[in-house]
């Protein structure tokens, strides 16, 4: 990159001097810049022209000089600074050479115009940001209410029911009456309590394994309905006794008789 003419004209060209000073200032404070585009924008200001008329070629040269300088000063530059330098070097060579009609891709002018656009856009955004921050801000120039009244939320319950709820409720009440005759059916139902009551004294007598079915009360074995309820109740009662630690249950095989004995 030694072919880059250093931006140090002999004459007292004020613009060139300013550019050089700017470039030097850049080097001093590389860390303070927000990337290569930021540096380029700063450099372009030295051209003191409308950003649309900027000389991208001159800008590229300044940037390359900046990178070169940083290197000689052994200043650590982030990779994107070097990527930008490489790209600008490429752009510079394309701008200096006559366009090759054979070449594919965008023209050097297009690339330069885009870079100018990017710089102009970044500058515009910075100006916009400054204008935004200069506005009257809430909590600094404008203020909201100091005392706020909290809205108290009043919870109000609204009860609902559907017609189906209503009818089901009525049906429930009315069918309760209809069920009343079934109360007599309880004669055919051995309850768990009854079975338990019956087994408690008996279990004390059985020291050996006894078939559970022998515990069914008399009169509950012939009728299938009665036998079923008695069996269920007796079995449930025996489980209860096992749980209480008074008895043990065993069954040698699936569907084999269930046997019960007192726990010793």
């Amino acid at each position: 990159m030694s072919d880059v003419p250093p931006l140090r004209p002999a004459g007292p060209d004020p613009d060139a001097v300013a550019a050089r000073l700017a470039a030097e200032a850049l080097i001093v404070d590389v860390g303070g810049y927000e990337g290569p585009l930021d540096v380029l924008l700063t450099l372009s200001r030295a051209q003191k022209v409308d950003l649309r008329q900027i000389s991208v070629l001159a800008l590229a040269q300044q940037y390359l000089a900046f990178v070169e300088e940083a290197r000689t000063l052994r200043i650590e530059l982030a990779a994107d600074y070097l990527v930008m330098a490489a790209w600008l070097a490429f752009l510079k060579s394309r701008l200096l050479l006559p366009p090759d009609p054979e070449e594919e891709g965008p023209s050097a002018e297009d690339l330069a115009a885009h870079l100018a656009f990017q710089l102009e856009r970044l500058e515009a955004m910075r100006t916009a940001a400054a204008r935004l921050m200069a506005r009257d801000q809430l909590g600094r120039d404008r203020f909201g209410r100091g005392i706020t009244e909290d809205v108290t939320r009043v919870r109000r319950v609204r009860w609902t029911a559907t017609l189906v709820d209503l009818m089901q409720a009525y049906a429930r009440i009315r069918t309760k009456d209809e069920f009343r005759p079934y109360a007599y059916d309880r004669t055919n139902l051995l309850t768990l309590d009854e079975a338990l009551e019956r087994m408690r004294p008996l279990i004390g007598l059985a020291g050996d394994w006894v078939d559970l079915w022998s515990y069914l009360p008399q009169g509950w074995t012939a009728d299938p309905v009665r036998r079923r309820t008695a069996t269920a109740a007796t079995f449930a009662a025996s489980l209860e006794l096992v749980k209480e630690g008074r008895a043990e249950l065993r069954q040698s095989d699936t569907f084999a008789p269930i046997e019960l004995r007192r726990r010793t």
Partner: protein
């Protein structure tokens, strides 16, 4: 010469500065009262306003200006504040409505009233087989789903309950007579009980009308 003079800061010589016009002072007081987190004393106002301001007059003007408005300038002890007009306090409450299913006791009581109206409390209890708490009746009255009917012309002249227009409205009924009878309830599958042959299946209110089945559509 420089020795004798005091600090050169502004406000060193009050007479040099004129107080802002009263209308401007009023604006200032208004802004301060609005933005400050608590009531502001006159002393504080004097301290915050430009030199020479007379907050008392400004406050008085401001108070008059806000008379009858949605917010008022009010005196709180020795201080002043802007507060919501007392009659608009209701705007500061937000009602959150929560819908809940009626309890089983309430819906059953309601159903009995709907099917048997006019009905006395004793009758409701008889039909339900359990007592009806005062709260249940009160709730239904409060919901405007039942109301008092005529007194029964029996000893003790007990009050009766009937359902209201609001009830019919809620359940989408023209009249309470439109409620389906037991056999229809059963036909619609709302009775999960097995029918008992020979018992009062042919119920009182069954009138065999059509078109009631569509009540179940929902």
């Amino acid at each position: 010469m420089s020795g004798a003079t005091e600090g050169e800061g502004p406000a060193a010589d009050p007479s040099l500065f004129e107080a802002p016009p009263l209308a401007e002072q009023e604006r200032m007081v208004e802004a301060i009262l609005f933005a400050t987190a608590g009531p502001v004393t006159i002393r504080e106002l004097v301290g915050r306003l430009p030199h020479g301001c007379e907050p008392k007059t400004a406050l008085e003007n401001l108070r008059r200006r806000y008379e009858g408005r949605g917010v008022n300038v009010v005196r709180v002890g020795e201080a002043w504040a802007i507060r919501t007009a007392p009659d608009l306090g209701f705007l500061m409450r937000q009602e959150v409505e929560e819908t809940r299913k009626l309890s089983r006791a309430a819906i059953e009581t309601l159903a009995i009233i709907a099917y048997h109206q006019p009905v006395t409390r004793a009758e409701i209890e008889e039909i339900r087989g359990v007592g009806v708490s005062r709260g249940t009746i009160d709730q239904l009255l409060e919901m405007d789903w039942i109301r008092f009917g005529r007194r029964r012309m029996t000893p003790g002249r007990p009050v009766t309950f009937i359902v209201t227009e609001a009830f019919l409205d809620h359940f989408g009924l023209e009249t309470a007579r439109d409620l389906p009878g037991l056999s229809e309830l059963r036909a619609a599958g709302l009775l999960d009980s097995r029918p008992v042959p020979g018992t009062g299946d042919e119920d009182d209110e069954t009138d065999g009308t059509e078109g009631q089945s569509d009540l179940f559509e929902e």
